[in-house]
Amino acid sequence: MPLLEVKDLTVRFDTGGGTVHAVSGVTYALEPGETLGVVGESGSGKSVHVLSMLGLIPKPPGRIAGGQVIFEGRDLLTMPEGELRQIRGKKIGVIFQDPMTSLNPVLTVETQIAEAITSHGLMSRKSAKARAVELLDLVGIPEPQKRVTQYPHQFSGGMRQRAMIAIGVACEPKLLIADEATTALDVTVQAQILDLMKDLKKKLGMAMIWITHDMGVVAGLADNVQVMYGGRIMERGPARAVFNDTRSAYTWGLLRSLPDHSEGRVYETHTPGQAKKRPRLQQIAGAPPDMTNPPPGDPFAPRNPFATERCHREVPPLVQARDAAPGHLVAAWYDLPRALLTNPTGAVPAAAGEAA
């Protein structure tokens, strides 16, 4: 039985400038112990969809326009706030991007971790404090006995993020949700945190939803990858399948637009006065859609060189991709492998080439 089932989740924001179609018909299931990487850019709905299932979007302007989120047999969306609060932090841990705004600056780290545990009635204050030291040790903070009595400002950025993770996993949740948890960190610190997460996942056996815009991060961390765009899931499947047998034109475009990381890739050195042509990146034309006025069909259609006439007018359902790995789903009216046979570089039809 899945740990989490999201069914047709639809979220709207009513703003002065119109209704933002933030999340539309998002449907998926998460198994116990599974790590799901959710990839998308700003406005894709990747963060809003988890915030809304946790009751963390401001209402108004936010509004759940439809759907269910079943966690351990109960719908989180219709649950009274008091009960949801008991699940949040206890059974579902959350880590956000900026630990400085999520940690309380006037409380010691010990107090904050202990509070996370005792507020759910799991243990006494005294044993919770002992547990705080264990948790700091678990997330790799040196001298946890000393560190636990300090305040957040005495921690470096990487250590604050580790402290946030300690709070996130304090109650040994069944599900940990991380929203751009390493985005603000330097690349070396990010690497340490990602290693820590792989290690914790093994030790604690929890499921994870890791939300990021970075394809590299999910490549190393996720069992399954879900690519979102314009409030919808464009593609979902086992990580290797999504990366190596890509079915959505958006995923394909994103992966292609990244600089070539191949080893041994050598560029010529600059010689003054001698202009040498450098290769260009394979860019996706156009800009992300305005979600107050989303395209009527596939949200990526206006930028998609493979879009068919139907893509522009009708939203494609998310279904098993043809001749793909089981569970590899795509929302597309076009067939990407077939389209690539006739247009291998995704050459842009003249009309779609407008700059972003």
Binding site: E41, T188, A219, R240, F243, S257, L258, P288
Partner: protein, 303 residues
């Protein structure tokens, strides 16, 4: 040195100390060496990438070159002329040749000014337009050059997407025909699907106009793609510098090795094989100096 023409930019022993606290008598008690004796050159038409952790001093180095901050010590030579001592009047002709592109195009554009006026402003300041219609024509040409439709000239910054705003910022930066653009994290705030467009625009403009870039960034993949040479900064010092292929294929300093090995690879198979080289972020020892390990490839090592 006489036989060799002066490089476009030469930075010599550039140093910036910030005093973070003072004692009762106003004497500094705690000093942060944000930039600590940095020296490098940039040739005409060349791109130098400056990478490092936050707080490594890479942005401060850019600001010192632009004279947005005054250095504690060291010199900046632009086309052979030291610009540190110039008055703002003397600096004016150099400002034309030395421009900047910031990370967040939204905060660097005046929200109340039509974007065409923002782009045309430097032309007006330097007396390079003869009339209103001449300005419009020149701005329209700049818009086309950065891939924007000139009909958007009369709109305001908030009516544009992040990528379009960065194009406007770039149009403004190239308006005066600069020789060097300091680009401080110019793609960091952009959506992933837009980053490649802007990197390509930087490459196109360099080819057309022959500008040099100081490209300050933390995305090593993009730096590797865009830059001819790379300098790696750690705690205010350059720990390694060389051609892009020297630094990426044969990193010498342990910090460079750690940095390169830490970057995640967007490929599950190769990512599974990636081995991270750990590095404790200790500042380089005070006596350490840059030594040439290969022609043009320098790495910091103990004295």
């Amino acid at each position: 040195m006489n036989a060799k023409a002066a490089p476009l930019l030469r930075v010599d022993g550039l140093t910036k100390h910030f005093h973070t606290s003072k004692n009762l008598f106003g004497k500094p008690t705690h000093t942060v060496k944000a930039v600590d004796g940095v020296s490098f050159e940039i040739g005409y038409g060349e791109t130098l990438g400056l990478v490092g952790e936050s707080g490594s001093g890479k942005s401060t180095t850019g600001r010192l070159i632009l004279r947005l901050e005054e250095p504690t010590a060291g010199q900046v030579y632009f086309e052979g002329q030291e610009i540190g001592k110039l008055s703002s009047g003397q600096l004016s002709p150099i400002r034309k040749k030395l421009q900047v592109v910031f990370q967040d195009p939204f905060s660097s554009l005046n929200p109340r000014l039509r974007v065409g006026d923002s782009v045309g402003e430097p032309l007006q300041t330097h007396g390079l337009v003869s009339s209103g219609s001449d300005k419009r024509d020149k701005v329209a040409a700049l818009f086309k050059q950065v891939g924007l439709d000139p009909k958007f000239m009369d709109r305001f910054p908030h009516q544009f997407s992040g990528g379009q705003r960065q194009r406007i910022g770039i149009a403004r930066a190239i308006a005066l025909g600069p020789k060097l653009i300091v680009a401080d994290e110019p793609i960091t705030a952009l959506d992933v699907s837009i980053q490649a467009q802007i990197v390509n625009l930087f490459l196109d403009l360099q080819e057309e106009l022959g500008m040099a870039y100081l490209f300050i960034a933390h995305d090593l993949g993009m730096v590797r793609h865009l830059c001819h040479r790379v300098a790696v900064m750690l705690r205010g010092r350059i720990v390694e510098m060389g051609s892009t292929e020297q630094v990426f294929a044969n990193p010498q300093h342990p910090y460079t090795q750690a940095l390169i090995s830490a970057a995640p690879i967007p490929d599950p198979d190769r990512e599974a094989l990636r081995r991270r080289i750990p590095y404790d972020l200790v500042p380089p020892p005070p006596g350490a100096v840059l030594r040439e390990v290969d022609p043009g490839h320098w790495a910091l090592s103990a004295a």
